[in-house]
Symmetry: C2
Subunit: 823 residues, 2 copies
């Protein structure tokens, strides 16, 4: 908590950085791009606390990660954790779910069916900024001396707090205290409470509360995982203001989406203030100048409201913004904060995961759950993007990760959000049907990556060919319906999704000479292979998809008739599912990831230097694809998602085989490895991977948290507990548990809500305890034993775990290799 | 030969198109893009003549093809067959081999090792243009009335002649007679002789002889086979002129290559002329105005000279241009034309292929040989591009086609050109070694497409992955050395090429558990498959490459030591060659194109409408790659190139199997099918494919001749005769023949020069005749019988041919389907 030194910026306005402030702050720890082992909890992150994430000081080198970690959102409106004064910043972000711009995709050589346009999330007008000038010196963490700087993300309050004690080069001292919130209840509203206090002497201060459009963007360079910079995309349409309120209206250039953004202010000042308002096309600014005495702070509460539409006029949108601002003013900061807290109390009651024995993991799990509800709470017709609303990584696109990782968590905690997310998928079926037709395929082909529903992947072998996304969505539909009993959704949106994806599979695969159903030329989850035949994960997921479609088609005959599904078609789906090819290597006694995988040579891990990870940034796909090297769980994901297709012995052998060649260059991998490691009995590994999944963003293990948080990995951390330690599976209607408790963990507790019943599962050494916290009794299965659980705790001994030797790992890529640096 | 009507252009200068001229000329025959069966010999091409290609009229819809057919070049300098007056035109082209511009390649999503820059042939300053104004009316085939228009490409003279009889809207009649030549002897020089004559009355005429830089380009749109438009690429550096000479100097913007272009003129005028000269940065113009009487034409002889360099200053280049112009003036048109004729006499003596029974094919074969010598005669350190110097198709890049198709012809006819072409490959080894290192491969990785040596493929699955290019180059080296006995080349350039490519294969392939050598994840010749394991063609070509490298490494121990080749490395090459995997389908009793090819489903040809060919313009690679559908001979190419690896029975079965699934969407296919059809005994098919190969460009069977002629197909036509009808193979040192004479052919004769001996092979019904026309006696093999041939004809009966039923074809894609329209 000692005073840290500010990093020098270029002197502006003739201001000189103070002599001491001229030394860089991060102490010479350089972070190599894509390297390994140097990331980790930086000096500025404080030791873990159970219900908050706290940072002191300003780590200039990790500022982007902090912007992601401290992001606030409600699924509809997201604000990155930028500093109040707006700079320094890595990426300034204000995101409205579904508000995007498109741009033409270029290719070295174009081919038929290549995606035509990219889509990228737009940085909406930024209302987070409140600049402060003290005695004519701008407050800036890179000038003067930062005596104390602290930010605290309160996971129960849903508020980001900040405290800054700062001394100007001339010696004036002030303290700034701010709170920031994106309301879960008033979905279009965010609020900031800003207090500034003079510490030693009366000071003249000026606050500039800003709403600015078309902020400078920067490109992510060559890293394919980052976002594309496409310049100013917002055309000004209307700019109005009066008193302390201003509203700006803009429209995107290509997609022609309109947005209205507004701010209003409540001023709580100890004395007279001069207040002025400027309104320009791309800037609105309320300026407050006054003299403050020590002990009597100046407080400004700023309310922000955003509305956007593809159809409404800017006039109407402007009215909505004014209405939202009025409602926010009426409720006030305290009212909003109170309801925010109650919303989260309710969430934590349903969702909390307790883990004793590792405070960092306990914190990380709650951090994960907080960001998951932030990502999903109010999406209402839009997608949950891979980064939620925490950054522009992957251009703000949604991928299969949402259905495969995020929804399996939310289905048991916040099913309304899952229905919303799946309704979004359903709403994109017209584009997906059109895409399928273009590709000469029946049914619908859901996009690999998109915001609005059109395929935006600019690299088809890892986009279009990764058809498993369709089965992943179908699986999420099946799970949602099964867990909630939402028959109405099953009949309508779910039905359409299941049928159209099943049709796709029927068209993609074929019955060979001996009647086996084969799916050739696709790409599975592992992005270090592509265009393979009979990827086991894909085939098994497609099989489940076909079965699920056949079931609903028989169940809802009227809907089947409506979509033209006849008995022949259903029979074909059933026959394809029955005859689905699952390759097996009889020599190695393992399942190959795809038909030819195990007859490829194994990547030379010993010859691969540590700094060459992630491999995709240092080797061509050509070399990766033709070798046995796995970026992320693929066959192991099949062992988890489609466990019914494998014996316990197969699972163990397969898991160990793939451990030796899996490099975890994707954040989607660790949790899957944790879950299957736990199942087959590698408890040390399970724990190591659970930790890795949980700490992915907080410790920036993949060195790209600045682009936004990895929603799937956050969800994966939770799944590592429920599916991994809890051994929870929900395949056949009865929740099944085969719990595991690795050594360092003294207690784990988690909740699942199934058809309205909230079950609590608690694991302590030697024992698993089940109890229904809310709702009707529930039949469950513990290690093969089936029994009913009600309001009384039922305890069972933990199943035996075999004593296994740890499998080999790729040189330098074993568990923990992604952990924080040793320094 | 009747007067044709000009097509209306937009009236300019107040000129009105004549009433009759307002009707379009092509009579309503619309050419659908990529369709089938509507191409063909247009009205304007005259019936075939043995030694020339003649066109009458102007076919506006096929103007681009005519520009390609009538292109002149010497391998160093190329002029497209644009009309003298410059317009109408499709693509104006003046090409200097190796003179190119680069541009950044963009990608929807970039990956490691993706080619960074594209390269494209530059349209050098155009000196072909001579515009004519008659009594203030510009002569233009789209205005007034074209009473007669005729162009004649004289294959023995190496001259393009043109005759235009034209009547202005006002009724003035003139005749223009021009001759154009690109000198084979004066490599930097082209010349045009332009005569204009008044027909009925004295007329005032003005000639404008033009040299113009940065002409308008047009993009080829979405067709991946066409060139990219990158705007004006020539920066002016110097523009000087005096009297009737002007020289312009330019430099390309990115590649910083300098070019000097100049023109000078000899005027032969019946009376006084007013002559003026304009010189601007991008334009030089000599204007001649005079009054001419009927019977006394005005004649202007224009000499053009070009020099370019990456190192020399524009001043020096300008001096070179002046020197070249002086030399051309000194020799004069007649001197240049005389030496041109003698050069070609010599060529035809070595190269002529005679074929009685089909005048169109006879003409096409000579047309092919003429364009092959045009493409190769004076390359001297540069490549032979896929289109030679006839157009900008494929951006002017060289591909494997050159080594696999063009050089196998030229090796026996013009070995000097082959040495030049292979020296160019050798000169790019530094780039290829760097590329290999980038890809984590040993040796050198030659580019899929390039002008300057760097990989320019913007789609890696069909670029980088098509590693067979390396073995194709090695094969051309082996053949050249073998046929010429050029030991000095073998020791140096050939050695380097063979060793570095063998090293690549040793690094790409691997010995599996049982010691088999496998090459995974590559793309073979067939572009409707990609990233396959153990492509038979690739594996067999790599095997030959490894064997050839081992042989030269043992032979030239000093060079081996210099490159660090030790006994272990040689032994590894030999072991890999020995253990090379050649997959075989035991159920179907055929060789799969690659390991998994025959377990894919067969493309649904019956459901594919005719207008969906070529498939690559109507279906995604995703669908093509995962099905049995063959764009172009691949396994069948292996049957031809590596025939020693197959029994006769295997060849027949394989050929027939692939006939059923080969759609010939590539012009590289027909000739290979012709050769193998002849070998296995399908003589009707052999003849049909030979015809198709021969007429590819003249009849525009692939609908893209406007982008330039298909050099590989032109060579393929010749190979269809020598390797197909002649059954010629040169695998083991003794030229072997197994001749076939299909019904329509009454006589075939061709020549091969082998180690200085020119052998003539003549086939007539029932008999093959062999004679040495020049040089020492030669041992040859006829149908397994070995004997010596000298100056006396040795005759042998043609081998028996089995009586085979024709195999099935893909619906609508059998032989002849690409033929001219029935109308």
């Amino acid at each position: 908590m000692s005073a840290t030194r500010a990093q020098p910026g270029p002197p502006e306005d003739g201001a000189k950085p103070s002599g001491e402030g001229a030394r860089p702050q991060r102490g010479g720890r350089e972070e190599p791009a894509g390297g390994m082992g140097t990331a980790g909890r930086s000096d500025t992150l404080e030791p873990p606390e159970p219900w908050c994430l706290r940072e002191t000081g300003v780590d200039r080198a990790r500022l982007g990660r902090a912007e992601s970690l401290f992001a606030l959102s409600n699924g509809h409106l997201g604000l990155r954790g930028n500093l109040d004064e707006g700079e320094p910043r890595v990426v300034s972000g204000t995101y409205l779910n579904g508000f995007y711009e498109s741009y033409p995709l270029d290719y070295g050589e174009r081919g038929f069916g290549f995606a035509e346009d990219g889509q990228t999330v737009v940085n909406a007008p930024d209302g987070k900024i409140i600049r402060l000038v003290v005695e004519n010196e701008p407050v800036d963490v890179e000038r003067g001396t930062v005596e104390h700087h602290e930010r605290e993300l309160d996971l129960r309050a849903g508020v980001l707090r900040r405290q800054l004690r700062w001394r100007s080069a001339y010696g004036h001292r002030i303290e700034v205290r701010t709170k920031r919130m994106v309301s879960f209840l008033q979905r279009s509203v965010a609020a900031i409470q800003y207090e500034v206090e003079a510490l030693d002497e009366p000071l003249w201060v000026t606050l500039q509360s800003i709403l600015v459009a078309n902020q400078d963007e920067r490109s992510g360079g060559e890293d394919p995982r980052s976002a594309r910079a496409i310049g100013d995309v917002l055309d000004p349409r209307l700019a109005v203001g009066g008193d302390r309120r201003a509203v700006l209206c803009h429209a995107t250039k290509r997609t022609q989406l309109s947005v209205a953004s507004g701010m209003d202010h409540v001023l709580d000042a100890p004395g007279d203030c001069r207040v002025s308002l400027d309104v320009e096309d791309d800037l609105a600014r309320v300026t407050v100048s006054t003299r403050i005495e020590p002990g009597t702070p100046l407080r400004l509460t700023k309310f922000l409201a955003y509305h956007w539409s593809s159809r409404q006029t800017v006039e109407w949108l402007r009215d909505q913004v004014d209405a939202s601002l009025e409602a926010a003013l009426a409720e006030g900061w305290d009212g909003l904060a109170d309801r925010q807290k109650r919303f989260l109390d309710d969430w934590w009651e349903r969702a909390d995961v307790e883990l004793d024995g590792d405070p960092a993991v306990q914190q990380a799990l709650r951090f994960a759950l907080f960001h998951l509800i932030q990502a999903g709470a109010r999406i209402e017709g839009r997608a949950i993007a891979a980064k939620g609303q925490t950054g522009t990584g992957y251009d703000g696109h949604a991928f299969w990760d949402t259905e495969a990782y995020v929804l399996p968590v939310l289905t048991y905690l916040e099913p309304r959000a899952v229905r919303d997310a799946l309704e979004w998928r359903w709403s994109t079926l017209p584009q997906a049907r059109e895409r399928a037709a273009q590709l000469d395929l029946p049914g619908a082909s859901l996009p690999w990556r998109t915001i609005h529903g059109e395929e935006c992947s600019g690299y088809w072998p890892a986009g279009l060919a990764a058809l498993h996304v369709n089965a992943d969505v179908a699986d999420a539909v099946r799970r949602y319906v099964h867990v909630t009993g939402d028959e109405e959704f099953e009949r309508h949106q779910g039905f359409d999704l299941l049928v159209e994806t099943a049709r796709l599979w029927a068209g993609v695969g074929w019955f060979d000479r001996v009647g086996t159903f084969r799916i050739n030329g696709v790409t599975g989850p592992d992005e270090y292979s592509a265009l393979v035949d009979n990827n086991v994960f894909t085939n098994l997921m497609a099989k489940a998809n076909l079965v699920a479609a056949a079931e609903v088609a028989r169940k809802h005959a009227d809907r089947a008739a409506e979509l033209g599904v006849d008995e022949d078609e259903i029979a074909t789906w059933e026959r394809a599912a029955q005859a689905m090819y699952v390759p097996y290597d009889d020599a190695l006694l393992v399942h190959p990831q795809d038909q030819d995988f195990t007859v490829h040579d194994v990547w030379d891990f010993a010859a691969t230097p540590a700094e060459h990870y992630p491999l995709l940034l240092h080797y061509p796909y050509f070399q990766l694809y033709r070798r046995q090297v796995v970026k992320q769980a693929d066959l192991v994901l099949a062992l988890w998602f489609r466990g019914e297709a494998f014996t316990d012995e197969e699972k163990r052998r397969d898991f160990e085989y793939y451990e030796a060649i899996t490099v975890r260059d994707s954040s989607l991998s660790a949790c899957a490895q944790a879950v299957v490691a736990a199942e087959v009995g590698h408890l040390d590994l399970a724990w190591a991977y659970l930790r890795e999944a949980a700490l992915t963003d907080i410790d920036d293990l993949h060195h790209n948290a600045q682009g936004g948080l990895h929603m799937a990995s956050l969800a994966g951390a939770v799944l590592s507990v429920t599916n991994g330690l809890g051994g929870f599976r929900d395949g056949d209607g009865i929740p099944r548990f085969r719990p595991r408790l690795p050594d360092p963990v003294r207690r784990v507790a988690f909740r699942l809500t199934i058809r309205g019943t909230r079950l609590r599962v608690e694991l302590v050494p030697g024992e698993a305890r089940y109890v229904v916290e809310d709702g009707e009794p529930l039949t469950i299965e513990h290690d093969g034993e089936r029994f009913e659980v009600g309001a009384d705790v039922v305890a069972r001994p933990l199943p035996e775990v075999p004593d296994l030797d740890p499998p080999p790992f790729p040189a330098g890529r074993g568990p923990g290799c992604l952990g924080p640096a040793a320094d």
